[in-house]
Amino acid sequence: MNPYASLQMLRNELDSRALSSVELTQMYLTRINKLDAEFNCFITLAEEKAMFQAEQADAQIAAGQGGALTGIPMAHKDIFLTQGIRTSCASRMLDKFIAPYDSTVAKKLNHAGMVCLGKTNMDEFAMGSSNENSYYGSTKNPWNTEHVPGGSSGGSAAAVAAALVPVTTGTDTGGSIRQPAAFCGVSGIKPTYGRVSRYGMIAFASSLDQGGVLAHSTADMALMLSAMGGFDAQDSTSADQSMEDILALTRDSEGFALSGKKITIGLPKEYLQNLTNAELEAVYQNVQSVFSGQGIEFRDVSLPHTHVAVPTYYVLASAEASTNLSRYDGVRYGHRCESPKNLEDLYVRSRSEGFGEEVKRRILTGTYTLSVGYYDAYYVQAQKVRRLIANDFTKVFSEVDLLMTPTTPSPAFKIGQLSKDPVEMYHQDVFTIPASLAGLPSMSIPCGMQEGLPLGLQLIAPHFKEALLLKIGNLFQQHTDWHTQYPETGQNL
């Protein structure tokens, strides 16, 4: 069985009994055990539980009760709580934390009959763009192990790229699904804020965090999203919005048809004017000609507040993170220092030992920007700018159906290349952050290669237009083969 098979192909194999879920699960577990020593995609493997779930899935399929995802292996980013399995968020703070309940996403995918193989590596508490900020060590990019896989969902992206698992969950706060998807040559979607429940997804920046998918294709992502999304009464910010148009994509082969609708894609000039990467520019031109060939029109548009998106994001995300992470105090669960002298000592040492450098940097930044005397200058100001950035998008979406940009300014950088320069690292998210601030659905799909490393194309849609995003992405993938190119390392087994 080709480990890079699409979910639909796996479904056909399972339904025709050519392959059982147990066999499929064993196949991917074998790949993980053989290959992951090199890539470090997984923090925790849940082999026993996976085999149990696979057996249950086989029974369901045998009874004719299987759904589209029954028996298909997957892995969760280690930010989603999975009952009975360690959920570390790649932090020493939660190194010994066994989740006492299932996140809504885990519950829904369990319910769909999926088999969870384990938990993927990430930047600690989702703070980072390279997976170098993991307590469990960096994940390596399967295309070139000297390079980072991107972050924070780097383990999820690399695991799909190396076909250690057919599909993974991820989370995106400022680009944490799209940037690693681009770096690893896989497809990744960040749905509209509120589309996927945040319950049981460890919070980094609550007003931005959104769960999503990393997969080989838009078709696979549509299947996953249809199972993960939807209103959840346990998340007050969850959107009570119909899932019908996403479900429609998964029903039959006609689901992705554009039905003759004229599509115009906007090209925001602010994203391109400072682009110094000639190869990327060429790739980008090529993408336009692919789309033009399919009758899609382009229009130059302007998002004038783009240049302030990165600082705005780091003020808001750090502020929210600084208080979201206050609960890790060594009192009820998580890392506690040895023999604390008093309460102050318990707090200071537990948190100093439990958190890594980048997490501490953001807690300090966030604490500073929320302090009396700085709150108005930073937090309140950033909230205002966030509104302006969102308004930019609202305006252009009255003219165009979608926006298209490169996902990142360059392909995956080398491990260690930016880790000494946090600000340069933060600018890796310059193309992905604006859509996050506006809560818009956004997707990265492979669109070319540079120096043997993949490049990603970002598409951004109006709120709750994930279906349109996936249709356009699907159109591209039907006329290109970037998404079916795989790293050599992943194929050797």
Partner: protein
């Protein structure tokens, strides 16, 4: 030098909801530690708050009762500080946009005068857990059962000028929340607690003095004593030329003194900011109209009704309506006996004394309103004397048996007042014969001795004679007979 005291209160009211403000855990009081704390209350990773709608309607009910501005768009903020009883490291509260804005209440003081106390705002927030020190030497335990209990914090203007006024206001708010059925009002279980902001200034000054805040007072008596202690302390400091330090204080009831909290328990900067996990609470006029219709009779309305239709004095009416359970009991008593004044006297006097002695709420009174009403009926129609009535009251409350019928009890124990004139006549005659000295004294004009003679007759009749009748009979006989 004369000083003026200025007091404002922040009252924390635990709202009577079945579950917590942001989780489904129970709010029942007195459970084993940490058995009513779910993943949300424990601030497990990944959990999110979901607002309890009952807490919103309780807060609005309060706002409407004090004619306050209602926050049609209110929001939640995080108040950040570290403490082991605060699992998230922040308290969810309403800082910028509270659900209840400006309002006011009228308070009747002991001396009958009225003051108006402004309400600055009232906002929803979550209670913290508790630190436990009992039975764990050298350790601190954490009980998170209380964490997440919904609170309404009612902030007053600095409109009170004595401990008595502050207590009267606290009592008024206690009455109000019980009437509205938004709080059980059990002070000893911490259902209502207050922080008192106290400052003094020279009489006539218009600027406020430096204030201190006494935290966590949970009884009317402690509130009064703590404020009085603090006023004296502040006056002493200023009169000896020292300055008042702004401080947060705890009241030690055992020593009757206030002392500063450890500095760790106070924090300079709470870094308030809007909680991104919760949406704004949006209230419409239609919501308000529905709640207005559901508002029960308020203490002021009930007091006026007692004054107007039951002909009670303002003092009595105010006393009886301060607690809806007392007012209910009183009304049930009146329904039985139809005597508003005697019922008021007995409820405020004998019954209140018994309840205080036995530390019982009126809902667990050892005598039912029906029984008390029966006793009062028998006094009113002269079947029994006041003295016998007291004896019956004592017997009934001792038995604390609601099935006892007072009329039967009186018959069985032969306690009916002697209204048979001939019977009393005999005892009066015997008494006159047995006390020649006193009789002579009376006839010599020392009329005070009458009390003694009446007492003798009452004693002979085992208290069953009607003292008024006895007195009249004695006077007649002593004046006419030689």
């Amino acid at each position: 030098m004369t000083w003026e005291t200025v007091i404002g209160l922040e009252i924390h009211v635990q709202l009577a909801t079945n579950s917590k403000i942001f989780s489904g855990a129970s709010t029942r009081f007195g459970a084993q530690p940490n058995t009513q704390a779910c993943a949300v209350d424990l601030a497990m990773p990944g959990v999110l708050p979901v607002l309890n709608k009952q807490a919103i309607s309780h807060a609005l009910t309060f706002g409407l009762a004090i004619n306050a501005e209602i926050g049609l768009h209110s929001t939640f903020d995080r108040k950040n500080y570290f403490y082991p009883d605060l699992p998230k490291g922040y308290q969810i509260t309403q800082f910028q946009h509270p659900i209840v804005g400006r309002g006011s209440v009228e308070v009747i003081l002991e001396d009958g005068s009225h003051i108006n106390v402004g309400i600055t705002r009232a906002h929803l927030e979550e209670d913290a857990g508790k630190s436990v020190h009992e039975n764990m030497p050298g350790l601190t335990g954490i009980d998170l059962n209380r964490a997440g209990t919904p609170l309404l914090e009612i902030v007053s203007e600095p409109d009170m000028h004595s401990a008595q006024q502050a207590v009267a206001y606290f009592k008024k708010m206690h009455a109000l929340v019980k009437y509205l059925r938004i709080c059980d009002g059990n002070l000893n279980e911490g259902s209502m607690r207050c922080d008192a902001n106290v400052s003094i200034r020279k009489s006539g000054d218009t600027t406020l003095g430096v204030r201190t805040e006494i935290k966590n007072l949970n009884s009317f008596r402690f509130l009064e004593k703590a404020i009085n202690y603090e006023i004296e302390r502040q006056i002493e400091l200023l009169e000896s030329g020292q300055k008042i330090q702004q401080a947060t204080l705890l009241y030690d009831a055992d020593r009757n003194e206030t002392r500063p909290m450890r500095s760790k328990e106070t924090s300079e900067d709470y870094r308030y900011f809007p909680d991104p996990d919760l949406l704004p609470i949006l209230i419409t006029q239609a919501d308000i109209d529905v709640l207005k219709k559901l508002t029960p009779e308020l203490p002021d309305q009930r007091r006026l009704r007692f004054q107007e239709t039951l002909a009670l004095s303002e003092y009595d009416a105010n006393w009886l309506t301060a607690d809806p359970d007392i007012a209910d009991y009183y009304e049930a008593t009146v329904e039985q006996c139809n005597n508003t004044k005697l019922s008021a006297n007995w409820v405020m006097g004998e019954l209140s004394a018994v309840l205080n002695r036995q530390e019982l709420p009126i809902t667990s009174a050892p005598i039912t309103a029906k029984q008390l009403g029966q006793i009062i009926s028998k006094i009113a129609d002269d079947t029994i004397s006041g003295k016998i009535a007291k004896q019956i009251f004592d017997d009934i409350t001792r038995q604390a048996d609601p099935s006892v019928d007072v009329n039967e009890f009186i018959k069985q124990n032969g306690l009916t007042q002697m209204n048979d004139e001939s019977q009393i006549n005999d005892i009066v005659d015997q008494t006159i014969l047995a006390n020649p000295d006193q009789v002579q004294q009376f006839r010599d004009g020392k009329h005070k001795v009458m009390g003694y003679l009446v007492g003798q007759v009452m004693k002979q009749s085992q208290g069953k004679a009607n003292p008024k009748q006895v007195s009249e009979m004695l006077t007649a006989k002593l004046k006419t007979q030689p």
